[in-house]
């Protein structure tokens, strides 16, 4: 597998969304510097939580979104910056299957019309005719085959003509006049007849019946509709499909059949897949390699089996551990605390540092594991609050120094499992040096300076994780992982997780 040519090279791809507001503001960094290769004929799985940018990545590769920066190279062409004829060529080579078949099929069109639409849009077919010598090819709907293009019609030097099996017409449907200094090809089959045949063939190929041609999407079950979506994506004989969670909207009983169909089609047609999903077990089944995305970055990339059995990155470990029933392989469940931070304002340093179970901690404080987590959480709460849009009332309150004291107190009470002492203050069961930092930060927050509070916490408890942005490290066997713990001076992530969570 590893010798296969890369079909697609994604290089430092970025997609930022500006709200176009007058104030500018921070853009949403949906995809932020992603690089990987997709090899010819493989399935690359792309997993991650909702909102991590995996769908945006797929759409940007297909040029449905304009890339902010970076390249997507296919056959040495950057497909993010093409237009006109080149773009149309790319569109016929790369297609997308959407998540929700009900939403992606126009319900006022029959299935036949839906599958036929790409053919009409590209004025299909345009047959590639291969000629032995360098004579010109003339005629309607034909062109001279170039490069490694698949030959639909082959004209020998002695005038023998053969038609590729599976082409939309047979030998009887065309006459070839190769007498002069050019080859005249005349088709006797009408384009619309060829298209209709093609649609019927596609229906069969995806496991639907011919009588479904005149049905409407309403009349189909979810699985059947998704087959229609797949047939539409296949209509132009693409080489590459982006499958955007193609089974997550379907019943579990149907998912397996669609997955099998996709695998069969891949074998039969030699397709390359980018399979986007949040269901890890589906990805494990179908993907050859898997990329794990978090907040617009690829955290870990490697062959599926190896990533699943021996994750390198703490995020992958947490994700895998979140699969119900997977504890056998990964031991004690590691819960992913909270929700991912806003992609508008990702944490400095490592993106995952705010939730990381293997975060590097400063040595000078002797704080218990639970309290470290509480401190991380307190920090992210303050950060989120300082960035939140505030109403006029809040702003006025802040200016006047009237802050809801109770919210900060409640936060401390809840996170640190603390208790109020006699005179209404809060005491945290923590070594004094650490506790005093928390009190200082809380004081700042009460005065309305959440940003300052977050900074205070970061100063004291932050580490290299919140300062340095990790590079993708080669961790062997074609795997990369974006974690600072792969450096020599630190312990490996899984050892740390083992020690922190599974040592008792």
């Amino acid at each position: 597998m590893s010798e296969a040519e890369p079909f697609l090279e994604v290089r430092d791809l970025k997609k930022y969304y500006d709200d176009g507001g007058l104030l500018g503001g921070d853009p949403v960094k949906a995809v932020d510097g992603v690089s990987f290769d997709i090899r010819e004929g493989e399935t690359l799985g792309l997993v991650g939580e909702s909102g991590c940018g995996k769908t945006t990545l797929g759409r940007t590769i297909l040029n449905l979104e304009t890339a902010t920066e970076g390249e997507v190279l296919a056959d040495e062409t950057d497909v993010t910056s093409i237009s006109g004829r080149e773009l149309r060529r790319w569109q016929s080579q790369a297609q997308m299957v959407f998540q929700d078949p009900d939403a992606s099929l126009n319900d006022r069109m029959t299935v036949g019309e839906i599958i036929r639409e790409p053919l009409d849009a590209h004025d299909w077919p345009n047959l590639a005719v291969s000629v032995a010598d360098d004579r010109e090819v003339a005629g309607k709907r034909v062109h001279r085959a170039e490069g490694d293009e698949r030959r639909d019609v082959t004209v020998d030097a002695d005038g023998g003509v053969s038609v590729r099996e599976g082409a939309p017409l047979t030998r009887e449907d065309l006459t070839v006049d190769a007498d002069g200094d050019r080859v005249d090809v005349t088709l006797h089959k009408h384009a619309s007849a060829m298209r209709e045949d093609r649609v019927r063939g596609l229906l069969e190929q995806v496991g639907l019946r011919e009588e479904h041609f005149y049905r409407y999407p309403h009349q189909f079950s979810g699985g059947q509709s998704q087959r229609v979506g797949i047939a539409r994506a296949l209509a132009l004989e693409p080489r590459f499909l982006v499958l955007d969670e193609p089974v997550s909207a379907l019943d579990v009983s149907v998912q397996a059949r669609i997955i099998n169909l996709l695998e069969d089609l891949q074998d039969e047609l030699g397709l390359t897949f980018l399979f986007i999903a949040h269901d890890l077990s589906v990805v494990r089944h179908i993907a050859d390699r898997v990329a794990v995305m978090y907040l617009g970055e690829v955290m870990e990339l490697g062959p599926t089996e190896e990533v699943f059995t021996d994750p390198s990155h703490p995020y992958t470990e947490s994700l895998l551990s979140a699969i119900p029933g997977s504890m056998v392989e990964t031991g004690e469940r590691i819960t992913l605390r909270g929700t991912p931070p806003s992609p508008r304002d990702p944490p400095s340093g490592c993106r995952f540092s705010s939730r990381c179970p293997a975060k590097i901690r400063p040595d000078e404080y002797s704080v218990s594991g639970e309290h470290w987590e509480a401190l991380d959480q307190l920090h992210s709460v303050f950060r989120a609050r300082s960035n939140a849009e505030k109403g006029i009332v809040d702003v006025v309150k802040e200016r006047l120094g009237i802050q809801d004291v109770s919210t900060v107190d409640e936060l401390l009470l809840e996170l640190f499992d603390a208790e109020r002492d006699g005179d209404g203050g809060i005491s945290i069961e923590m070594p004094d040096d650490a506790a005093s930092v928390v009190y200082e930060a809380a004081e700042l927050a009460r005065a309305g300076d959440e940003a300052g509070a977050a900074e205070r916490l970061d100063d004291a408890f932050g580490s290299v994780c919140s300062e340095e942005h990790p590079e993708a490290n080669d961790v062997g066997a074609g795997r990369t992982s974006r974690c600072l713990r792969h450096r020599e001076e630190y312990e490996d992530p899984d050892a740390v997780i083992e020690q922190r969570y599974r040592s008792d």
């Binding site: 176009g20 759409r59 297909l62 449905l64 773009l87 149309r88 569109q91 016929s92 297609q95 997308m96 959407f98 929700d100 939403a103 992606s104 099929l105 126009n106 319900d107 006022r108 069109m109 029959t110 639409e117 790409p118 849009a121 590209h122 041609f213 005149y214 049905r215 409407y216 309403h218 009349q219 979506g229 539409r232 209509a235 132009l236």
Partner: protein, 474 residues
């Protein structure tokens, strides 16, 4: 190609379809003369309109030949204008009284129209059951829902009767506009003079002067004869001409202006709404600004100003100024329709199938036409039918104010205006009948719009949802 041919052959050998085709042919033959007459007349007009052509040559002969073809629903086949010669009626259909002859013709016209409509529905059902490749389409549900919508059906019937009135206007009136109003001194009429006991001849204009409806002393009310044996289903007007003829011909101009202006503004609105919904952002914003600017112009003042300014120009000559009115209505009216359609269009533009179409490289125009327009047409029909009602009111209102359609072209609003001095007298019918008709037709168009809306979108609440509010304002 061969598939279609064999289909036609199949259809004709199938009993029910053959019967349907036969009935259609029969219905056509009954009116073939009128139809050919219309086509030939239009061709001649078209040829004469070309520069440098002043005679249509052989077509004129064709026209006169076509005129000879008998049609069922014409004044010549069932005449109602005759006179009493002391013992019986001369010149009327089968010697019936003029009232009965006229009523017979009017009834036949409506029977014919409803038969033609039924024939169309019958054909659609045969097609749907036997010939359509798809055994179900989303449109079927819409039709089925509309069929069960009583208020919508009521609207459809009213609108259909109104359209029939406009189409068959010349055949429906007891007399013609030319003979009774425009050129009343160019025609003669015969009547039975009971004093002398003989049949006398009088100019129509003079007869009209003796048939005025101007209050309690002088009045020819609805469903009465005047002194010259002429029947007036709706009575006469203040100048003695026939009110029914006036109204029937007036319905034509209302319908033409209404349909023209609504069709124009609907196509402007749809094009702009789809463009702004597809491209969003700046395109959308600029259209909002343009439509706000147009909306801010006072429509009535603009109308008065433009009709005055353009009074002497050729554009005001077209269709007695009706064309100009339609243009002004379309120009000021599209904004409201655009506003109403923009919302649904924006919603549709967010659907995933738009992305799917973009992903395989479909062109923006085709995406708008194939993937967005079908979802907006329903709204266009709803707002169109409601706006049409509004346009009819506006045209009538303008004529009432003495603006708009130039006299003497009949227009409903002018009838209301002409009769308003006599509302409290015995000649109440001059204002009241056209007033009732306007109300009825506008209600019909609104009911039809309601019905279409409920058929298209069953979730919308007919008891005053958002669309209903917007529709009422449009």
């Amino acid at each position: 190609m061969s598939v279609t041919t064999s289909r036609v052959a199949d259809a004709l050998t199938d009993g029910r379809t053959a019967l349907w085709a036969l009935v259609g042919l029969l219905l056509f033959l009954l009116e073939a003369g009128a139809f050919l007459n219309f086509v030939v007349g239009l061709t001649i007009d078209g040829i004469l309109a070309l520069p440098g052509v002043d005679a249509a040559g052989f077509l004129t002969t064709v026209e006169s030949a076509v005129r000879e073809i008998p049609t069922l629903l014409s004044r010549e086949t069932i005449p109602n204008e005759g006179y009493y010669d002391g013992s019986g009626y001369e010149g009327t259909f089968l010697g019936l009284s003029p009232a009965i002859a006229w009523a017979l013709r009017a009834t036949l016209v409506y029977l014919y129209a409803f038969a033609a409509f039924g024939w169309g529905v019958w054909g659609y059902r045969i097609y749907r059951r036997n010939y359509r490749a798809a055994d179900w389409t989303p449109r079927d549900d819409v039709f089925d829902r509309f069929r069960g919508h009583k208020w919508g059906i009521f609207g459809l019937v009213i609108v259909f009767m109104f359209v029939t009135m406009a189409v068959f206007a010349p055949a429906l009136g007891p007399t013609t506009v030319d003979q009774n109003m425009r050129n009343s001194y160019g025609y003669e009429t015969k009547y039975w003079d009971s004093d002398s006991g003989s049949v006398e001849t009088i100019l129509v204009g003079d007869a009209n002067l003796d048939s005025l409806s101007q209050g309690n002393d002088q009045n020819i009310g609805p469903w009465t004869y005047d002194d010259y044996g002429r029947f007036h289903p709706f009575g006469t007007m203040q100048d003695g001409s026939d009110l029914f003829t006036f109204l029937v011909v007036g319905s034509r101009i209302s319908l033409v202006i209404g349909v023209l202006s609504v069709a124009l503004s609907a196509s402007i609105a749809a094009t702009l709404a789809l463009t702004s919904a597809y491209y969003k952002g700046r395109v959308d914003l600029s259209m909002v600004l343009i439509s706000d600017a147009v909306m801010a112009m006072p429509q009535l003042l603009l109308l008065i100003m433009l009709t005055t300014v353009l009074r002497e120009t050729w554009i005001n000559e077209v269709y007695s100024g009706g064309f100009l009115l339609a243009l002004i209505f379309a120009f000021t009216g599209w904004t409201y329709m655009w506003r109403s359609i923009r919302g649904p269009a924006l919603q549709i533009s967010e659907r995933e199938w738009i992305d799917a179409a973009r992903s395989f490289g479909q062109t923006p125009i085709t995406i708008m036409r194939k993937h967005m327009l079908p979802y907006v047409t329903g709204y266009l029909l709803i707002y169109g039918s409601m706006t049409l009602g509004g346009a009819i009111i506006s045209i009538a209102g303008l004529s009432y104010l003495g603006l708009g359609v130039a006299p003497p072209t009949p227009e409903w609003g002018r009838a209301v205006n002409l009769g308003q001095d006599y509302v409290r007298t015995g000649s109440w019918h001059i204002s009241l009948i056209p007033g009732i008709l306007i109300t009825l037709v506008v209600t019909g168009f609104n009911a039809l719009g309601d019905g279409i809306r409920d058929a298209i979108d069953p979730q919308s609440d007919s008891a005053g949802g958002e669309t209903a509010g917007a529709g009422g304002g449009a």
